[in-house]
C-alpha cells in the first residue's frame, strides 16, 4: 500500500483550504457570537492563531516520519501495541465526524433547498458522489478535485464579500472589548480553534506528499488563508447583523440572502449552498479516505477500498442516529468535539508522540 499515492504541495494547500472553509464559516460563527458578541472576530483571530500553532506541531511531527501516517509512526514511537492503542481515539473521531458532517451537510441542503424530498435521497446522492471520488483514485482524486473546487470556493466567497460591502455598518463592531472582557473572548475562541484544528488530518495526509520540503509552508499558508477568510466572514456577519447573528442557524447564508445588487442579483443563497456542498464533498471524501485507509493500515489489510464500504455504512448509520439537526450541528460539536476530541486527539496524543519521539531520539544520539 505504501507509495500508492502522490500528492503535491499545492494539492495539500487546496485540500486544507476547501476542507476548513466550508464547515468553519458555516458553523462556528453562531457559536462564537453567542459567547463573545460583537467581539467574536477577536475570538476567531485568537482561535485561528492557536489552530495555526497546532498545525505547526502536527506538520513537525509528521515530517519526522516522512511517508508514514500517524497509524504507522505511532507504532514506531511507542512500540506496536501501545502505538496501536493510542490511535484508537482517532478512529472514533473520524468515523463519527464523517457521519456528523454528512448529517450537517444534508440538514443544510434540506433546509435551504428542499421541502418535500425525502432526506435519505439527499444522503444517498451525496454518499454516491463521495464514494465515487474516493473509490476511483483515493487521495489523488480527492486532491485533484480540491484543486478545482478550492479556487472556485475562494473566488465565489470573494465575490460574495464584494457584493455585500454596501450593507456593512462598521459601528456594529463597537464597543470593542468593553462589553465582553478577556474571559468571554477567550471562550468564544473555542469553536474556531477546534474546527480549524481539523488540520490534524495532516498527520495522515502528509504521508502521501511527493516532495517533503515545502510541506510546512503550504500547510501553514492554507491555514492562514482559511483564517483570513473566516475572519472576514465573521466581521462581515457582525457588521451586517450585529449580535443578531447568534440566533441564526447559518449566518453566512443569511448574509448571502441579504445581497441585493441592481435588482438583478438577489436571493442568490441557492448558489451559496452549491459552494458549500462542493466543499462538503471534498471534506467528506477526505474523511472517508482517511478513515478507511487508516483502518486498513491498523488491521494490516491490503485493500482499503473494501474497508471504505464499511466506513460508508457506519457513516450512514451515524447520520440516521442523530435525532435532529440540533444534535448534529450543535450538540455534537459542543458536547463531543470540544470536550473530548479536541483535547485528546488534537492536543494530547500529538504532543505525547512528539515528546516521546524527541526524547527517544535525544537518547539515541547520546548513546
Amino acid at each position: 500500500m505504501k507509495g500508492a499515492f502522490n500528492i503535491s504541495n499545492s494539492q495539500i494547500f487546496w485540500l486544507l483550504v476547501s476542507m476548513e472553509i466550508g464547515m468553519a464559516t458555516l458553523l462556528t460563527i453562531t457559536m462564537a457570537v453567542q459567547v463573545a458578541k460583537q467581539d467574536a472576530w477577536i475570538s476567531t483571530l485568537l482561535g485561528s492563531a492557536v489552530a495555526i500553532l497546532l498545525t505547526f506541531f502536527y506538520v513537525k511531527l509528521a515530517m519526522r516520519y516522512p511517508g508514514k501516517t500517524i497509524i504507522q509512526f505511532s507504532q514506531d514511537i511507542l512500540g506496536m501495541w501501545l502505538g496501536k492503542i493510542i490511535v484508537i481515539p482517532y478512529f472514533v473521531t473520524w468515523y463519527s465526524v464523517f457521519g456528523a458532517i454528512l448529517r450537517q451537510v444534508v440538514d443544510f441542503i434540506y433546509l435551504s433547498l428542499f421541502t418535500a424530498t425525502p432526506v435519505w435521497i439527499i444522503t444517498v446522492v451525496i454518499l454516491v458522489v463521495v464514494a465515487y471520488m474516493t473509490y476511483v483514485g483515493g487521495i489523488e482524486s480527492i486532491a485533484r478535485c480540491a484543486e478545482v473546487i478550492g479556487p472556485i470556493i475562494v473566488v465565489m466567497l470573494i465575490i460574495i464579500f464584494i457584493l455585500s460591502i454596501q450593507d456593512l455598518h462598521a459601528k456594529r463592531l463597537l464597543p470593542i472589548y468593553a462589553d465582553t472582557g478577556w474571559w468571554l473572548i477567550t471562550k468564544g475562541a473555542i469553536p474556531s480553534m477546534t474546527f480549524l484544528s481539523e488540520s490534524s488530518i495532516l498527520m495522515v495526509l502528509l504521508a502521501f506528499l511527493s516532495t517533503q520540503e515545502k510541506a510546512m509552508s503550504s500547510s501553514l499558508w492554507a491555514m492562514v488563508v482559511s483564517m483570513v477568510i473566516l475572519l472576514d466572514t465573521i466581521m462581515m456577519v457582525i457588521m451586517i447583523f450585529g449580535t443578531l447573528a447568534e440566533k441564526m442557524w447559518y449566518p453566512l447564508e443569511q448574509l448571502v440572502r441579504y445581497i441585493y445588487v441592481m435588482e438583478f442579483v438577489q436571493n442568490v443563497d441557492s448558489i451559496f449552498v452549491i459552494l458549500f456542498l462542493l466543499s462538503g464533498f471534498v471534506k467528506l471524501a477526505m474523511y472517508l479516505f482517511v478513515a478507511s485507509y487508516s483502518t486498513a493500515q491498523w488491521f494490516g489489510f491490503q485493500s482499503w477500498r473494501t474497508v471504505m464500504w464499511v466506513v460508508l455504512g457506519i457513516g450512514y448509520i451515524i447520520t440516521i442516529l442523530f435525532k435532529n439537526i440540533d444534535v448534529a450541528t450543535v450538540e455534537y460539536p459542543s458536547q463531543f468535539w470540544i470536550p473530548y476530541v479536541f483535547p485528546i486527539c488534537f492536543i494530547a496524543i500529538p504532543f505525547i508522540l512528539l515528546l516521546v519521539d524527541v526524547i527517544r531520539r535525544g537518547i539515541r544520539i547520546k548513546t
Binding site: I121, V129, Y132, V136, R144, E263, V268, V273
Partner: protein, 515 residues
C-alpha cells in the same frame, strides 16, 4: 476481425484462390512463373500480368494493379532498342532499378505482397528473382482547405487521403532530421500503411514507446479510418471525452509535435491523430497563436464560458424554474411565467423535447445530401422556432435556452469534445429535473471526478489545472504572448526549456524574465 478471418479462411478451404506459400521460390521458367502468378491473382481483374518479349530476346513479366502505378517510364525502357548479348538481363535490371526505389525479392509470396501494396513487380526470364519498383501513382484529391477546422488567419492547406502528401505537409513545416516518421502496416486484409511521427528529443521516449506498444498490439482485419486506431489505443473507452485529438490541419500537427506530442498518420484518411490530448488542449483552436494575444485571451474566456453554458444551461434553467424560482429577478420571472402560461408540458419534458429536436435537426443536417440540407434548416426553424411557440406547445424561453446551448456547444474548437458536452447535458437535465440545483451540483461533481481521474497516455486529462502545473497553467488561462517564453508542457515533453530562449526575446529590457 471475425469477418476478415472468415474471408481469408474461405479462400484456403476451397483451395481455388490460394496464394502460393510465402516461401515458394520464384521459378526460373517463364511459363511456370506466369501460371503461378495467375493462380495467385485468380479473379482479380484489376491486376494486370503483362507478358512482354524484351528486345525480341527475353521474356519479361510485369505485374501491377491497373491504375495505381505509373507505367509510362517503364514502358519506354521496355520498348527501347538494345543490342542483344549475354548481359542483356543484367543491363535491363540496372535500367529498371535506376528508375525508382526498388528491391529484389526471391519468393512468390513476396511478389504478391508487394503487388497488392501497389508496387510493380517485374520478373525477367531465367533470373529466379523479381524486381519490385515503387512507381506508385495515386489519383488523389488536391490539397484543399480543411472543412471542419477553419481558421480566419492561418494556412489554408489541409490533409488529404494520401499518406505521403500528408507527411510531406508536415515535413515541409519542420525541416529537421529530428522529425521521425516510423512506418507500420496494420490490418490483416487491408494492409493499411500508417506512420508514427514525433520529434526525437522533445517527445518523451517512454510515451513514444507506449504508442508503439499499443499500436503493435492491435490485431484487426482492416483499418478504414483513424477512428479505428483511436478506439483501439485509447486509455479508456467508457467515457464521453476524447482522449486523442484528431485534426485536418498540418499546422496543428506541427504545433503538437513541437510540444512533444505524437502524431499518427493513417493512409486513406485526412484525419491525423495527435496524442496525448488534454481537456484544455481541446479548447484551443489553431488560430489562437496567430492573432493578437489580448484578443485571443478574450476569445479563450468566451470559449470557457460557452463550454459551461453548453453543459449547464438547460439543466440550470430547469432547476431554477422548477425548484428555485426565487433566483430569478421578479421582472424576469413575471415574463417567463407569462411565456410559460398555457404550455402543457412540465419544464423538464419541454426542454428534453427541444433538445431532442435540436439533436435530430443537427444529425439530419449533417447526413442529408447538400441540396436538401437547406430544406431541413428552414423546416427546423419554422417548426421549432415559430410554430411550436405560437401553437403554445413550447414556451419561448425554452427555445431561447436550447438554441443558446446549441450555439455554445459548437463553439468548442474540437468537434469531438463538443460531443462530450452535448451528451452529458442529458444526465444533468434529469438530475436537475429531479433534484434541482443540488442534483445538478452532484452531477457536475461526478463529471469533475471523472475528468480528473482520466488519463491520456499517462498524462492526466485535466492537467495543468488538476494536478496543477503552474507554468503551464498560464497557457490555459490566457493566451500568453510568444515573447513571454512559453514553457513546454511538463508532463508531455522532457524538455525543460522555454520555447524562446530568454536572452533572445525581442524585448531586451525584459532579459531573463520568465514565467
Amino acid at each position: 476481425m471475425n469477418r476478415g478471418d472468415k474471408v481469408m479462411g474461405k479462400g484456403t478451404d476451397k483451395g481455388e484462390n490460394t496464394p502460393p506459400s510465402f516461401e515458394q521460390k520464384l521459378d526460373a521458367d517463364h511459363f511456370v512463373m506466369k501460371s503461378l502468378l495467375e493462380e495467385a491473382f485468380n479473379n482479380c481483374s484489376d491486376i494486370v500480368i503483362r507478358d512482354i518479349i524484351y528486345a525480341g530476346a527475353i521474356s519479361v513479366l510485369m505485374i501491377y494493379i491497373d491504375g495505381s502505378v505509373n507505367t509510362a517510364e517503364i514502358d519506354q525502357i521496355l520498348m527501347g532498342e538494345i543490342p542483344v548479348d549475354d548481359a542483356i538481363s543484367q543491363r535491363l535490371q540496372m535500367k529498371l532499378t535506376a528508375l525508382a526505389p526498388s528491391q529484389i525479392v526471391q519468393t512468390v509470396g513476396e511478389v504478391v505482397e508487394h503487388v497488392i501494396r501497389e508496387k510493380m513487380a517485374i520478373v525477367i526470364d531465367e533470373t529466379s528473382q523479381a524486381i519490385i519498383l515503387d512507381v506508385m501513382k495515386h489519383e488523389t484529391r488536391g490539397i484543399e482547405e480543411p472543412t471542419n477546422e477553419i481558421a480566419v488567419r492561418g494556412p489554408r492547406d489541409g490533409f488529404t487521403e494520401s499518406l505521403r502528401i500528408n507527411t510531406n505537409l508536415v515535413r515541409r513545416r519542420l525541416h529537421s532530421p529530428l522529425l521521425k516518421m516510423e512506418s507500420r502496416t496494420m490490418g490483416d486484409v487491408s494492409k493499411t500503411p500508417i506512420v508514427i511521427s514525433y520529434l526525437k528529443g522533445i517527445a518523451r521516449e517512454s510515451m513514444v514507446n507506449e504508442v508503439r506498444d499499443r499500436i503493435d498490439r492491435i490485431s484487426i482485419d482492416a483499418i478504414l479510418g483513424s477512428g479505428y486506431i483511436e478506439e483501439l489505443i485509447e486509455d479508456r473507452s467508457f467515457t464521453p471525452f476524447p482522449q486523442i485529438q484528431n485534426t485536418e490541419r498540418p499546422d496543428v500537427v506541427c504545433a503538437g509535435l513541437l510540444e512533444g506530442k505524437v502524431a499518427i498518420f493513417t493512409d486513406a484518411t485526412p484525419f491525423i491523430l495527435l496524442l496525448p490530448m488534454t481537456f484544455w488542449s481541446g479548447l484551443q483552436a489553431a488560430e489562437d497563436y496567430s492573432e493578437r494575444f489580448l484578443y485571443m485571451t478574450f476569445i479563450r474566456w468566451i470559449r470557457f464560458t460557452l463550454v459551461g453554458v453548453s453543459l449547464f444551461l438547460p439543466s440550470f434553467y430547469v432547476a431554477v424554474i422548477v425548484f428555485s424560482p426565487q433566483l430569478i429577478p421578479t421582472n424576469l420571472l413575471i415574463s417567463v411565467a407569462e411565456a410559460r402560461e398555457g404550455v402543457p408540458f412540465p419544464t423538464l419534458f419541454e426542454v428534453l423535447l427541444m433538445e431532442f429536436m435540436f439533436e435530430g435537426l443537427r444529425e439530419a443536417g449533417v447526413r442529408l445530401p447538400k441540396p436538401i440540407g437547406s430544406t431541413v434548416s428552414i423546416v427546423g426553424a419554422l417548426v421549432i422556432g415559430q410554430a411550436a411557440v405560437q401553437a403554445g406547445i413550447i414556451s419561448a424561453p425554452t427555445v431561447i435556452i436550447v438554441s443558446t446551448t446549441g450555439i455554445a456547444s459548437f463553439a468548442v474548437p474540437r468537434y469531438n469534445l463538443g460531443i462530450a458536452f452535448r451528451l452529458l447535458r442529458f444526465p444533468l437535465l434529469f438530475l436537475a429535473g429531479s433534484l434541482g440545483l443540488f442534483g445538478m451540483t452532484a452531477g457536475a461533481a461526478m463529471i469533475l471526478i471523472h475528468l480528473v481521474n482520466l488519463r491520456s497516455f499517462g498524462v492526466p486529462y485535466f492537467s495543468p489545472m488538476a494536478p496543477q502545473i503552474f507554468e503551464n497553467l498560464i497557457d490555459v488561462v490566457i493566451r500568453p504572448p510568444w515573447w513571454l517564453g512559453r514553457k513546454k508542457a511538463a508532463l508531455m515533453s522532457n524538455v525543460k526549456e522555454t520555447r524562446i530562449p530568454s536572452q533572445k526575446n525581442p524585448f531586451s529590457r525584459r532579459k531573463g524574465q520568465r514565467l
